[in-house]
Amino acid sequence: MLRENAEMEWIVPKPVSEILKWVLLVWLAGVIVAAFFYVQPAEGFIGESSRIVFFHVPMAWVAVLAFLVSCVTSVMYLRRRDPKDDIRASVSAGLGLLFAVLATTTGAVFAKIMWGAYWNWDPRQTSITILLLIYAAYLALRGAIDDPERRASLAAVYAILAFVTVPFLVFVVPRIYWSLHPDTIINTRGANEFDSRYTQVLLASLVGFTYLYVWLYTIGCRIEEIRQRRRQEVL
């Protein structure tokens, strides 16, 4: 049960968060402008298609980060049985699903330009589809259990099981089967193939979107906490 005087969820202290919100707005606007005007299109890619990397890679990174947070908070829930950990896990899984959809969409646009079709079941596309199914199933499971405590612990177990399959999808499936996907940032040769302007904009974009996730996560947790407290007051 949530305590009456429970602290609201603030990862970043509230006054700092109020300022960072506006910094984030300017930062992401800057990233978008830089992505289109500061860097030159990369060689070996058709037209301007390489610019999508500044949006696609951060989306995929945030999706994985959100799932990691969801898994860690699920483990924490099972250890100390704090309902707030359950809220954290569910909010993070929801955001992970959102960012995974965005990564899939940006990837499909790139696939259309480079490979000629939005969807061709490339191993990367297959793995992201399964990832989407996993987290949709997680949310379906949460919807199917009434009792809050049972829902929290069963969902936590499923989130951990799901997270265990992520390395197979992200690393094993694309490695075993031939893929059209450009080398990932962390590639097998350990080389960074981007020029310096690419690296700058990509890092800035990663930072921006990561904070966007943190901000959305904070808001999501607070909303969910208020909603649960209201429900307890009604009962």
């Binding site: 199914l133 499971l141 049972r150 069963l154 499923y158 951990i160 099981l161 999808l169 089967y177």
Partner: protein, 226 residues
């Protein structure tokens, strides 16, 4: 240790005995598999697929039949305990890990029984020639084990939810799909006789089965007693 094993095998033996009395799981699994096999054999048959496509496409159909048959009946192992209200008694009688292992053994036996009947029939009816027979058996054994581990823990989860039937497939399939991809590639490999694909499949399936075993053994007590 011996006590634990005795408990686990008592759970598996009890499940087998009640299963042979009612035959709910075996009927739903076996008849589902045979019906789908009849449908596939009637519509596709041994001659519809071009020779170069056979190893891969027939592997796809085979694993789809096995996985969907498993999804049609393996949730019974836990759902029946909740439906007949025998779960609380089982919680008192055996330790959680023994229950998990017993149910796993039961599901494993059911899957192996299904495979023992279905796979030879499939190969005969579809004219599926396998170049590396022992490697094929190895892939079936390992694949069946990984399938049993994943469906056992998911069955334990959904037995405690409200809507059980549909939820079992919804929760299992995403976890099973990577395994299915590996097994299809590996089966196509043994049918064609390419050893490299076989070894990468065996490694992938073994690691997946191993990790899932450890994680479900650690998490099962939470699912079972909460």
């Amino acid at each position: 240790m011996w006590r634990w094993l005795a408990e686990a095998f008592a759970v598996a033996a009890k499940d087998l005995r009640t299963e042979f009395r009612t035959r709910v799981a075996i009927n739903s699994l076996g008849l589902f598999a045979l019906t789908v096999l009849a449908a596939v054999s009637y519509t596709v048959g041994p001659y519809r697929i071009a020779a170069e496509d056979r190893p891969f496409l027939l592997a796809v159909l085979l694993w789809i039949v096995i996985f969907f048959a498993a999804l049609a009946g393996l949730d019974r192992s836990f759902v029946k305990e909740e439906e007949s209200h025998t779960a609380p008694l089982l919680r008192l009688a055996a330790s959680p890990s023994a229950v998990w292992f017993g149910k796993l053994v039961f599901n494993l036996l059911v899957i192996y029984m299904l495979m023992a009947i279905l796979v030879p029939l499939y190969c005969i009816l579809m004219g599926y020639t396998i170049m590396m027979v022992w490697e094929f058996v190895l892939i079936l054994v390992l694949g069946g084990y990984a399938l049993a581990v994943i469906t056992t823990i998911v069955a334990a989860i959904i037995a405690r939810a409200l809507t059980r039937g549909a939820l079992f497939s919804v929760l299992s399939l995403p976890l099973l799909l990577p395994l299915m991809i590996f097994l299809i590639q590996g089966t196509a490999g043994v049918a064609e006789g390419t050893p490299e694909i076989v070894s990468s499949t065996v490694r992938a399936v073994l690691s997946m089965g191993g990790i899932m075993t450890i994680v479900s053994a650690a998490l099962f007590p939470v699912v079972w007693s909460d």
